[in-house]
Symmetry: C2
Subunit: 533 residues, 2 copies
């Protein structure tokens, strides 16, 4: 049941802010119900409840948080058909894709459940007292990670499930012990509400204070900005554009009390094709590239937007193959009118650039409307790109730019001029790769994830994943928004000196009641610690 | 040998910037030599060399970095007498204190050497490929922490060794694989130069590129600001005032590419005395407090600046004892003229405040000059403090403010109004502490380190230490500047997908050549990983 209301204090609540509606991008039709934006007062209420809930929620054990996270995952599963159908209508993403995304969202919640249930993630460290040390005795010093407080999460347009209301930011913040206030993305308000209701029911079912979760609607940027500036909010998770992300970063940094942010923003995900690989499997690479840059209508943060090809016949063959595939490409609607408009305008702008050659643009069928995006491939020479670095900026949608390089020296110079990226990919034979230590070292400084002989779309949710990278890919290269490392964004170490054992957090108590792995005197162990003499 | 020169490219180099001199605060005398500030061009050179050195230094193994760090520690040891003597002249801190600080600085370098030599700190994570997984195969995903790049380190005024040229920021940045550019604090230029020469010699001796380390002088804030804004600089470590730290934070955040900062800035380190403890050992607590707030002329970030005492006879007794001790206190010169002037002015301002009672101010002897700081104790009622929260701000120097609270309820309200702190301390009997779970939970949100029955000065360098805390104590509560956790400020995870084993960083290779503890499929192990089939 959709109300068009925010969720505050565990209840659907009609907001007093500006109203707006979801839109079906395929049909161009307005969707029911009307959504009521939250007012500043409603935001304040949600923030006060989050602060109040934090007093309790921060003490909740890992086992209980695991039950809560699994409850949310199970709740998502129980509304699978409904939420996929609504998300499909609101985003025009295919049902197959959305089913996969739903599975991923549930996996993510369950993976964090596993991490907090096991418990060792808290980085418990114990340096026992040394009363007889000379010249001075050492106190008993112990530290453990503790939650930051209420976290603001901004749903993204392009992942209505996995980077939205119950996505990775929410899952990791909740796993870390932080209440969450989600600012719903206006492109999929119904999907957000369905998922918000699931979380809200889980909060209630698990006996947690209702302020642990809130969902706020807002048509423009006012509520989001106010959320980042609210003194109760202690951290931010965001996935979206560079413009919006940087604006929120700047607000977070300008607060009286600046707060940590993780904004995942802008990446063109360079793909470098090395000569021998190109010679041996141009068609295969072209096929993979085509699939990757058009996947989800090119609306992925990891879409390969720059492809570096040698200026030789093999390179021409790959471009020809890419052209063939694009000519046969299906044309699909984008997520929102604004995104489609921006895509058209950026493609048109590039088409007027005399330095750039348009290799191919897919031909629309009669039923394509203004929301449909035509896949397009551009091509430029390495030296033109060096003259026009603005060509390296992201176009959100199914376009890619092929850069033809003259040799290793030019390739290196081109890659050196890249900004920060989420990913960087090398295609090469064993011999190509073995000769590329210098390129790998260079790309390591540019990106959060380096890929050999693969494609950047498809981000595995696992322990070793890094979905991050130097600015402008993200606001802070030391973090990731995907994978279990993401939990570390919203926690901080707290140190306890000479505490009586019973007053320590459970993770730090002598007898190691949770049987977690801890660092004792610098060594990792699950052993108990002897009580002080 | 002191030249008064910056150290760039492994050489002493006369700067073209503004000249200034060190000052002996005890004698009020100008010290030789004259120091030549670095110009913008010299800064650019240091930054370019750091960038160049990073290409090599980031590949240096943990074992080699350990040798380098121990070489610096040994070098400090070899100049112990000279550096302590110079630091004593430049800071008026006692030789005993400076010897202790030197030992701590060397211990710190050696502790980081141990951490990087063992190697497991890099958080190596391996999720091996699952080629047969349904519905999609899983790629091989591995991640490890890698250095950020050149780090700007700002020496502090109050720790001429441990938080200065070869202090914790430098040690942790170098341990993490980052070149370091130190902006020397102008209060101890000679000490800085001696230590800078030690590091520079170690760079050379270990065959590292000279850009791994630079030391820059600058009389004002120009060079520091330019350093934080230099595009080659990828992170900042700073210890100093809130005003200076916030100004640099704002510059770092306003860059085209914002960079991570760790500023350790302002803390008043509340000490709460609970009734039973007060009743049983008022004199002992008074003695400890007196020693702690006057230690090093009150010039510690962890100086207890707020003391919460019950409004009863026991509280009066403690204040009386504190008064007695202050009356007999020695009076010592502060670090710099500016600091002494600021202390006098803040104390004078508080003396005119009718809400505040001056309990005692130490009487100066005839040989006290304008640099000498008289220890002072103020007292205020809980309700007056609630009306005047500005009384909770830091006065850098040997002053403390006793707050008399009426009962647990008022105490809780008072503590709730605190800003972020480096430390918070509780004095209580076992019974007092057992009844204080609520206070501990509250203080946990306010501070990086919680202490029972101790005093906040004296920060142990160990694995579990947290010298951090919510703003304004630091710029980011998720970090610490003391202890081995400090290394995590200047590194970022990088992920490798489907890499050939030989091209992976050593830490991630199948056979685990460094025999480090790694997370494989979510479990910690030192086992080898089977090569892909």
């Amino acid at each position: 049941m959709l109300y068009g209301f925010s969720i505050i204090n565990g209840e659907s609540r009609q907001g007093n802010g500006v109203v707006f509606s979801g839109l079906d991008p395929a049909a161009g039709a307005v969707l029911d119900p009307v959504y009521h934006g939250a007012s500043r007062e409603e935001l304040n209420l949600a923030a006060d409840l989050a602060e109040e809930a934090f007093v309790t929620y921060r003490k909740v054990s890992g086992k209980e948080k695991a039950i809560f996270l699994r409850h949310i995952a199970d709740g998502m599963e129980s509304i699978a058909a409904e939420v996929v159908e609504r998300a499909h209508r609101e985003t025009a993403l295919t049902e197959a894709r959305l089913k996969g995304e739903l599975a991923r969202t549930m996996n993510q919640l369950r993976l964090f459940a596993q991490v907090v249930e096991e418990g060792s993630w808290v980085n418990a460290r114990i340096d026992p007292a040394q009363p007889d040390r000379k010249p001075l005795p050492r106190a008993d010093i112990r530290s453990v990670l503790r939650p930051l407080g209420p976290i603001a999460v901004f749903g993204s347009s392009n992942f209505p499930l996995a980077f939205s209301v119950a996505g990775g930011d929410t899952a990791s913040a909740l796993a870390g012990g932080n209440p969450v206030i989600v600012k719903s993305h206006s492109a999929h308000p119904g999907t957000s509400e369905l998922v918000g209701q699931v979380i809200s029911r889980s909060v209630q079912k698990c006996g947690l204070p209702p302020g642990v979760f809130a969902l706020l609607y807002g048509a423009g940027t006012t509520i989001g900005a106010a959320l980042v500036e609210h003194p109760n909010v202690k951290g931010v998770g965001f996935t979206g554009s560079l413009t919006a992300g940087r604006a929120l970063m700047d607000r977070a940094a300008a607060r009286k009390e600046p707060i940590p942010c993780f904004m995942e923003m802008s990446s063109v995900n360079p793909v470098v094709v090395l000569p021998e690989a190109l010679h041996t499997r141009a068609a295969q690479i072209a096929g993979g590239l085509f699939a990757s840059f058009t996947l989800g209508v090119g609306q992925f943060c990891t879409k390969p937007g720059l492809v570096y090809l040698p200026r030789n016949d093999d390179g021409d063959a790959l471009v020809a193959e890419l052209k063939k595939q694009v000519e046969q490409a299906a044309i699909s609607p984008m997520l929102t009118e604004e995104i489609a408009k921006s895509y058209r305008s950026e493609v048109a702008h590039r088409q007027t650039d005399s330095a750039v050659q348009m290799v191919v643009e897919a031909t629309p069928s009669d039923d394509c409307g203004s929301m449909h995006a035509r896949p397009v491939v551009f091509q430029v020479s390495g030296d033109e790109l060096m003259r026009k670095p603005e060509l390296m900026s992201e176009i959100f949608g199914p376009s890619t730019l092929v850069i033809r390089y003259e040799g290793r020296k030019e390739l290196t110079a081109l890659l050196r001029s890249l900004e920060g990226q989420l990913t960087a990919t090398l295609h090469g034979t064993a011999a190509d790769i073995a000769e590329s230590a210098d390129l790998i070292a260079l790309l390591e400084r540019k990106a959060g994830r380096l890929i050999v002989n693969g494609f950047p779309t498809g981000v595995e949710v696992c322990h070793a994943m890094v979905h991050g990278g130097p600015y402008p890919a993200t606001s802070d290269s030391r973090n990731t928004s995907v994978g279990t490392l993401a939990i570390y964004r919203f926690v901080r170490p707290v140190c306890y000196q000479d505490f009586p054992d019973s007053m320590l957090p459970t993770e730090l108590q002598n007898r190691n009641p949770l049987e977690i792995l801890r660092m004792v005197n610098g060594s990792m162990t699950r052993e108990v610690v002897a009580p002080a003499a």
